[in-house]
Amino acid sequence: MKQGMIGRRLLYWLSVFAGLVLAIVPLPSWLDALRPDFALLIVIYWVLTSPRIAGLGYAWLAGLFLDVLRGMVIGQHALGFLIVAFITHRIQLRMRMFTLLQQVVIVMLLLALYHFLIFWIDGLTGHGYTGWRRWLPILSGALLWPLIVASSDSLTRRAR
C-alpha cells in the first residue's frame, strides 16, 4: 500500500505539472483569454477522488508554482487554489454522488469563486483588468470538466 501511495503522489504531481505547463503554453491571443485553468481543474479532481493524498498542501503548492511561473504576486493563486481545495474537500462526499451535470455546475461555481478572488487580489495589487473576457475561463473550465473526469478516470484505472 505504501508503494502504491508513492506512485499515486507521483501521478498527482506529474498531472498537476502537466496542468501548469498547459497554463503557460503560448496560444493565439483570442484563445488565450479562453484558456481554462487546467492546473486548478486537475487539483479539484484529485482532491475529490482522493482527498487525503492530494490534500490542501498539494493544492497550495501547485498554486504557488503557478504564481512563480506566471510572475504574479506570490501567494495569489496559492490562496485561490487553497480555498477551492478546501471547499471541494468539505463537499467531496456529496459531490461524488452528483451526476456529471451537477458536478459541472459545482465546478463552475468553484471556478467563479476562484476567479473572483484572483480578480480581487489583482485589483488590490493594481493589475485590475475589468473586461468581460476575464471571466471566460470559468465557462471553458466548466465545459472541460467532463473531459478531465473521463480522461483521469481512465488514467487512474490503469494506474491501480
Binding site: M1, V25, T49
Partner: protein, 422 residues
C-alpha cells in the same frame, strides 16, 4: 455516468485537522502576498522558485525553438536566396544611413562633451530572445531568456529593431520579465519629432495602441507624428522611436484631445529584443545637489511623499514606475505633485502615468531646466502654457507651476483620458 474512484483510506481520523491546515496555509499565502507586493521582500525566494520552475518554461519553449530551427534548416534554396538578396539590399540601405548617422553621432557627442553631459548614449546592447511562454492574457509581459547571470537589472530598457519595447520589471537568475510599453500600467515620456511637444504615452492594454491622455486640444500634434523617447526619468535612452500618432480627435468642449499612437516596435511579433545599457543620468547628481542645497523643504518631504505615493495609491504600487522613483533623487517633487494633482485620484492607469511623469523631474539640468520645466508641467496640465514655470530656479520650479495646474486639471480630468480607459 463516469464513475469516480474512491479513496482507499477511511474518512474519519487521519491527518491534521482540515480547518487548521487551511487557516495556516491561508495566513501563509496572505503573508507571502504582503511580503512580495508591499515590501518586495521575496526577491531571493522568488529567485529560487523561478530557478526551480525554469525547466518548465524551457520545456514549453523548446518545441517552438525546435520548430523554428527545423523550418530554418530545411528552408529551400530559392527562399534563402530571396532572403539573402532582401537582406543585402536592406543592409546597403542601412549602411548608407549609418554613415550619415555616424557623422551626426560624432557631432552630437562633441556637442554633449562641450556641455559635459554624455548621459543617454547607449553603450552596449545584449540580444535576448523572448521565451514562448504566455504569462497573463491581460498583462503585456514577456519573459526573456537572459537574467541576472547576464547582468540584466531591474528597470533596464528593452528595445527591438524598430523602437522601444519595454522595460525589465523582474530579474530572475536565468530569465527576466519585461513589461511592454503597451501594458495598461506602463507610461513613457515621449516627445514629438516634428513639434518637440513633450508628453506621456500610456499603454492601453492593446499591443497596437498607446494613448496620450495629456495632450490639450490646442497642442501641436497631428497624425503621422513620430514620438521619440525623451530619456527623462533615466529608464529609456533618449531619441529612440516609441510610436507613431495615428489619430488625434479634438473636441472643443474637452480640455484634452483624444490621441492614439501605434508603437513602432513589433510588440506582438518580435522574437528577439535588445537589452540596452546606457550611461546613467549624470544630470541627476546635479539635480540632487541643487535640491539639497536650495530646497530643504522638498528634500524633507521625500520620505513622506513616497509613502503617500504608496498609500494613497496602492493601485500603482507594483508598477515599475513607482519602484523606479525610489532611487531617483528628486522623488519628492514627484510625489508632492502627485499628492497635489487630482490625477492621482483617477483610474490606476492614469495615476501610473502621473507617477511616471514625475520621473522627468530629476533629469532637469540647470542649464535647460527652464525650458524643460515649462514643458513638464505642460504635460500634466497642458492647458497652461503661459504658466510662470520658466523661472530661473530650474529643478524647484515645478511647485509654482502646479499651483495653477491642479485647479485646471480637476475640472478637466473627467472628460480626459477616462473615456479610453477601462
Amino acid at each position: 455516468m463516469v464513475e469516480l474512484t474512491h479513496d482507499s483510506r477511511p474518512i474519519i481520523g487521519r491527518g491534521p485537522a482540515l480547518g487548521a491546515t487551511f487557516i495556516t496555509l491561508a495566513i501563509a499565502s496572505i503573508a507571502l502576498m504582503v511580503a512580495d507586493h508591499r515590501y518586495d521582500q521575496l526577491g531571493r525566494i522568488r529567485g529560487w522558485m523561478a530557478a526551480a520552475t525554469h525547466p518548465v518554461q524551457e520545456g514549453v519553449d523548446a518545441p517552438f525553438r525546435l520548430w523554428n530551427w527545423l523550418t530554418g534548416s530545411v528552408a529551400d534554396r530559392s527562399q534563402l536566396r530571396r532572403e539573402n538578396l532582401e537582406l543585402t539590399a536592406r543592409l546597403r540601405l542601412a549602411n548608407l544611413q549609418l554613415q550619415r548617422f555616424a557623422l551626426l553621432e560624432d557631432e552630437n557627442r562633441r556637442l554633449r562633451d562641450m556641455r559635459a553631459n554624455t548621459s543617454g548614449v547607449t553603450e552596449r546592447v545584449l540580444v535576448a530572445s523572448i521565451l514562448n511562454v504566455d504569462l497573463d492574457p491581460f498583462r503585456h509581459r514577456v519573459l526573456l531568456d537572459k537574467g541576472a547571470q547576464d547582468g540584466v537589472f531591474k528597470g533596464q530598457a528593452v528595445l527591438d529593431g524598430e523602437g522601444i519595447f519595454g522595460q525589465v520589471t523582474r530579474v530572475n537568475p536565468a530569465t527576466s520579465e519585461v513589461i511592454l510599453i503597451s501594458d495598461a500600467e506602463h507610461a513613457i515620456p515621449v516627445q514629438s519629432n516634428r513639434s518637440g511637444l513633450r508628453t506621456i504615452a500610456v499603454g492601453s492594454g492593446d499591443s497596437s495602441k498607446l494613448s496620450l491622455p495629456f495632450v490639450t486640444g490646442e497642442s501641436d500634434l497631428k497624425a503621422g507624428d513620430l514620438l521619440l523617447s525623451t530619456g527623462m526619468g533615466g529608464v529609456f535612452p533618449p531619441g529612440y522611436p516609441v510610436a507613431k500618432v495615428t489619430t488625434v480627435k479634438r473636441d472643443a468642449s474637452a480640455t484634452f484631445a483624444v490621441v492614439e499612437a501605434r508603437p513602432t516596435a513589433k510588440l506582438d511579433r518580435a522574437r528577439e529584443v535588445l537589452l540596452a545599457w546606457f550611461k546613467p543620468p549624470v544630470v541627476a547628481t546635479e539635480a540632487t545637489a541643487a535640491e539639497a542645497g536650495a530646497s530643504p523643504a522638498t528634500a524633507a518631504a521625500t520620505p513622506s511623499g513616497q509613502t503617500t505615493t504608496g498609500g494613497a495609491n496602492p493601485a500603482i504600487a507594483p508598477g515599475p514606475a513607482n519602484k523606479l522613483t525610489k532611487p531617483a533623487p528628486a522623488g519628492a517633487a514627484v510625489s508632492q505633485r502627485e499628492a497635489a494633482t487630482p490625477a492621482s485620484q483617477q483610474r490606476p492607469a492614469t495615476a501610473g502615468a502621473a507617477s511616471t511623469k514625475p520621473r522627468e523631474v530629476p533629469r532637469q539640468t540647470p542649464t535647460e531646466g527652464a525650458g524643460r520645466s515649462q514643458s513638464a508641467p505642460a504635460a500634466a496640465a497642458p492647458s497652461s502654457p503661459p504658466v510662470p514655470a520658466a523661472t530661473p530656479s530650474a529643478p524647484i520650479s515645478a511647485p509654482p507651476a502646479e499651483t495653477t495646474a491642479p485647479s485646471e486639471q480637476s475640472q478637466a480630468a473627467p472628460p480626459g483620458p477616462s473615456g479610453t480607459r477601462r
